[in-house]
Symmetry: C2
Subunit: 333 residues, 2 copies
């Protein structure tokens, strides 16, 4: 089962007409994939120009001549500047203001185009996942959970870097790629939220926080587990994280506002005497941090990831992926 | 041996004074690494504000609190908008116009700052490599050459994806990461310059083009080899590529202009009846495509990569890495 690209295109075309935009221009590889089915190597290597009344065109140099075997509507240019000739006929263009760089923006401005920030509208429908997308996300979650099983109990005596490499190799063996740089942080080092794995050797008495994810056909997973036998203060903190995680989970359903959940997380943390270090979660899809709406939508996929970090003791985070439904959330991981 | 960060900072500060810029602002992770020694997870996650008369400051949220264990001059902000308070005192700021997005640019403009495109000056000195950088690049080249040896003779019966995965796993085992997505293209498919490895099985009669690279402490390699016994037309084309490669190599030395080499490549291709599909090479360093000067500099590292692509027959590219010296080039790979 493949995604319904035509439906996606139609929806964006309708938004263009509503917002009085003649065409959309972007170089975000995930958005281009979402609307055309062609997944490029990296951002900014190719462009998509999508006129409201026609099929989206991919614009690329001849280095990317293979695109035409995947997507028929492609225009090859000799040099980057030829892009301007293609864009010139349009008076009002919607663009991704978070992706377009200032250099290109200034050049387009010289063409006397009206450029409208359109990121929100380009990405909006990516929030809600269809069946194909759900299958890919579920596969990415399955492999990630297997990776946890694979490394569990094998930490002591290894460096954080070695453990991260074991996980990355496991992903490769299972034909998926990393969704982001694996975070493996042990003992006190886990009190840094974004810790870069280093040469530190894990001792048998230490806990290990592992925050990893992979991509299946472009779709990401993002999960965090804490390993090791926890006692005393560490155990108490971990149980608090678990409790907060579960309360947040119970309060998620379509229609709930993100702000309300952030407030709830703040209240839960304060009640137990902790400081909030980061948001309760994020939307997941083609990007690990996918577009986030103001209120939860039915069939969006997101993480819940409360974390408590105490200097000298360590960090404890539980991160699961969930599916938002009408009156509830469903655990995916 | 570590790089001399102070020297790098002093050089950029001098450029700022000369160009009448009070501070430089960038979110390019490689530039931040180059000037501070801190290598972040990805672009746009942290900023560097470098006032001409002081030490560069890293600006990050508390998620990145670990930075201070690596680099002392770091300012933590609660939310992204706090960046504007830090930037406000400066009247003229040099920024990376290729890295900064339009959203941030417009917000900074509202502060009544004068923003000067400064990418060229920020990246300029990265062209010439110091001893530490050369050692890292040489290590990345060594591992890449080992990867070629590892896969050589093991292609037949495997899919391109499987071969790419073998290479990526080899890199992981040798504690380096991919510098870019591995290109493995076989038979006729090799006529696409940027080919994405797919499920196609390599037949014993086919040649295989492998374009791969890895990173050692942030520094890249980028090499291409063609494997398989070539006969007839294929052999003739490959030998032409080899000849062109060698002539270009013989003509490289510090002071030679890029334009002159492109002209030379064009002449060599035309003489043999081929079409030029891409540039003769590129600078390599922290980026696979590192900043490229107008004329070759002593101690810059670059690729030579002539390629000939014929539909129905295939593509043939030889890519080596070289070091530019006073009156010659030295082969690194």
């Amino acid at each position: 089962m493949k995604p319904d690209f035509q439906k996606r295109q139609k929806r964006l075309a309708e938004l263009m007409k509503k917002k009085n935009v003649e065409a959309v221009l972007t170089s975000d590889k995930n958005d281009i994939y979402y609307y055309t089915g062609y997944l490029g190597f990296k951002d900014d290597a190719i462009f998509m120009l999508f006129p409201a009344d026609r099929k989206p065109k991919i614009i690329a140099t001849l280095l990317e001549s293979e695109i035409k075997t995947v997507y028929p509507h492609v225009m090859f240019i000799k040099k980057f500047e030829d892009l301007f000739k293609i864009v010139r006929p349009y008076r009002i263009i919607g663009f991704d203001e978070r992706k377009m760089n200032v250099l290109l923006y200034k050049k387009l401005k010289k063409l006397k185009l009206s450029l409208k920030p359109f990121e929100k509208f380009i990405k909006m429908q990516r929030v809600v996942k269809d069946e194909y997308e759900m299958n890919q996300i579920k596969k990415a979650i399955r492999v990630t959970k297997k990776a946890f099983k694979y490394v569990e109990g094998r930490f002591t005596g290894k460096s954080e870097i070695e453990i991260a490499e074991m996980i990355d190799m496991f992903f490769k063996k299972h034909h998926v790629e990393n969704a982001f740089e694996s975070i493996v942080s042990s003992g006190e080092q886990s009190s840094f939220v974004h810790h870069k794995p280093n040469e530190k050797i894990v001792k048998s008495c230490e806990h290990v926080l592992v925050d990893i994810g992979c991509k299946s056909n472009g779709y990401c997973s993002d999960l965090t587990r804490v390993f090791g036998r926890l006692t005393g203060k560490k155990k108490a903190v971990f149980e608090d994280v678990k409790e907060i995680h579960d309360v947040i989970f119970d309060n998620l359903a379509s229609g709930v506002s993100i702000e309300a959940i952030e407030r709830l997380q703040g209240k839960l943390f304060r009640k137990k005497g902790y400081k909030v270090c980061h948001s309760f979660g994020h939307s997941v899809g083609l990007d690990v941090h996918d577009p986030m709406p103001d209120t939860l939508k039915e069939n969006m996929v997101m993480t819940i990831e409360p974390g408590i970090y105490i200097k000298g003791i360590g960090g404890f985070r539980i991160e699961n992926m969930i599916l938002i439904k009408k009156n509830k959330a469903e655990m995916l991981s």
